[in-house]
Homo-oligomer: 493 residues x 2
Amino acid sequence: MSKGLPKRSEDYSLWYNELVKKADLAENSAVRGCMVIKPYGYSIWENMQKELDRMFKETGHSNAYFPLFIPKSYLSKEASHVEGFAKECAVVTHYRLKNSEDGKSVIVDPEAKLEEELIVRPTSETVIWSTYKNWIQSYRDLPLKINQWANVVRWEMRTRLFLRTAEFLWQEGHTAHATKEEAIEETELMMNIYAQFAEEFMGLPVVKGIKSENERFAGAVETYCIEALMQDGKALQAGTSHFLGQNFAKAFDVKFASKEGGLELVWGTSWGVSTRLMGALIMAHSDDNGLVLPPKLAPIQVVIVPIYRSNEELDAIEAKAHEILNALKPLGVSVHFDHRDTYKPGWKFAEYELKGVPVRIALGPRDLANNTIEVARRDTLSKQMVNLNEVDLKTFIPELLEEIQTGIYQKAFQFRQDNTTSVDTWDDFQKVLEEKGGFISAHWDGSSETENKIKELTKATIRCIPLDQQKEEGSCVYSGKPSSGRVLFAKAY
Amino acid sequence: MSKGLPKRSEDYSLWYNELVKKADLAENSAVRGCMVIKPYGYSIWENMQKELDRMFKETGHSNAYFPLFIPKSYLSKEASHVEGFAKECAVVTHYRLKNSEDGKSVIVDPEAKLEEELIVRPTSETVIWSTYKNWIQSYRDLPLKINQWANVVRWEMRTRLFLRTAEFLWQEGHTAHATKEEAIEETELMMNIYAQFAEEFMGLPVVKGIKSENERFAGAVETYCIEALMQDGKALQAGTSHFLGQNFAKAFDVKFASKEGGLELVWGTSWGVSTRLMGALIMAHSDDNGLVLPPKLAPIQVVIVPIYRSNEELDAIEAKAHEILNALKPLGVSVHFDHRDTYKPGWKFAEYELKGVPVRIALGPRDLANNTIEVARRDTLSKQMVNLNEVDLKTFIPELLEEIQTGIYQKAFQFRQDNTTSVDTWDDFQKVLEEKGGFISAHWDGSSETENKIKELTKATIRCIPLDQQKEEGSCVYSGKPSSGRVLFAKAY
């Protein structure tokens, strides 16, 4: 019934790739590294967008739209920014095709060469700050809190559906503030919003923290992040929020007249989450039977599958199914009655398991006679018979969905607890990393040199310096030099 | 108080450009032909998206996402399609930048040349049909009804904000069907949905019709459209829906096993509306004082402006304003209380007029004493005193918004009636076109030759062959040859 999914324990990576394709989430396109997000996958992304967009607006942000193309020279204006992105930029050099001389094919028209090449945005700081220069004159124009939903392109060499694709969808917030304090507050606010979204909607526990210099966004003064742990013990960066200081204000000369009458550089932030979250959602919860979706993001929360041998039986079941639909839909429950006669119940059961539908209701003739339904939970794969004479579906189903949502989170939380290990020696570090994986909490001397060396030796990187931990003196797990606190190491996606 | 807008009667084109900028809708970016859609403009677009998306989903369509890039060779697979789009394609040829030898600038890395150039999608038929080939095997996979919200790029030489930009935002629907009849039905359905959206939400009367061969989409068998009339007497194509026949199925070899056991080519449609609709919305209703927005798309439907001389007065007004907010918000009315003390009431009045807010409520100390409010309508610029002892705002405001919505439509409808002229001679055709503009209903012999000649002589084109008119024999207004019905000519955006 598993529709031929490989087992996680045998080949986690293959399991992921096959699951993404078989559950109709996404597939590779003819263009190297670019994916097609299929309707079922896209509807999950739409649910994510809806909640995030609401949270952004509730905290005073507005959406806008900035150009796809960035003049090559813009990218160079912020030194570390260009260094971070130049190596993976899609470059537009021409603006026209024409027929080849033999008329058999279409070629790039050499006469239609752009004066200045354009970069397809890998991120929009440069084009946005060049615009902000005109929008910001006085303290009255601040804060400016704008978000955009957009596609971006980073020419990655090794790509994986959702996790690392040449083109991906994301939102990028870009804000401008009068003071450093306010900008830092915004940076932290957005990290907290991301964490809240991940935990409440995705059922994904995350560690909030700060990136080491090595992992910092190109152009940021400080990068805040949320880090999650996948079932194979690898970490996944689920969202980042950058305090840009005055770096982009300097690069694009964005100044404002202060209340006191001075002319000051603006302080900035930027923050983003992407379709990578789809990868996190899939890998954090799913099992060998397929997807496990948290009810709050599931396109279909409840599916009703009829079990019948004759048309008369189907008619009676349909009547009952519509009663259930009519009871649940007004409550905002997304419920689907699958009355297709081209597929058998067993096929449908496997299909909805594969697609992670949280609750499945099976309805047969005996259920009608007894006024019962069989309710199956996707997350625990458990079933129960519900007697409708005793139970009101209008409270039972919403409560069950809530229970599943909480259960999924708790399971992932427990997994992370079980797979976060404190180590104090380099031997233990290597041993835990190799045998168990997960997050390793260890002392670090604070130098890029040590971080690079550890990465070179073990492939583990510092995922973050967690924000919510107590200060603790110690010595670096690798160099033995003094350390003022533990950081989280892991191999990462 | 008009914030320096030019008058429509003096320079319509300048009036439009200035209005788009001053009302904070959009502006030109540093990249030629690409616009920045500002938060206020974008929020109107979001309202459009929300309604259209709902209408698409209610008619069985799902959203998905396909790649931004199209291999150059794909574009060539459908002959007339490549001819239509090759001349205005942004072409990606490289995937990396590097430092120049002197280290002073960043250049395109000549070693990072793509094997096959990629086109930034001008429309997605080719990449989508190449995907559909894998998705469609049997009649069970049909119909396939997918939409995507995306950015597209057409390298236009003369651009205008919203109306014609190198990059624009749109939705593009792409459906696949088992029969010709079903595909034509879908094409017509989507044209009707566009018409319904334009009329009900944008307050924009449209003519539904079919394009002549000259104006047909490159790759379509038939193009349906909705055409609207702007205040300067020029027409604007507001949406198109294409019956693709089996053209793309042939080009990409998309066949299905029919119920009867045969192998048949799939029938297709595609349909789209874009941020061009923003241009139509602005030009159809606005006046010399600024935007006039239909309430159903207005980001702010009602604004409350306090008028006061002391803080005590403001406190009392605030209390009343919050009463009004609390009464209207639960009804779904978007109402904003502008209590900024950095601007005077007169400035705010002009600002909200410029931004097209449908209803403005002014609240001063005398209003508090009398339990009245002053209500101003943006569309008619009329004011009335409303006595709250006699009138219940909870019914008054929603009714007023409805009245404004209807009024805006009716005004535009009347304008179109007054500016649609039936002509039967070539002299009249030229005279009406020059002196009055608008839609000209005239007989046409059905040939591209005549249409081209008329365009050459007058710049007028056939906007559409209207669907809802009676058959009428006549002779072509230009060639005198027989004609079986009138078509609509106009100069167009």
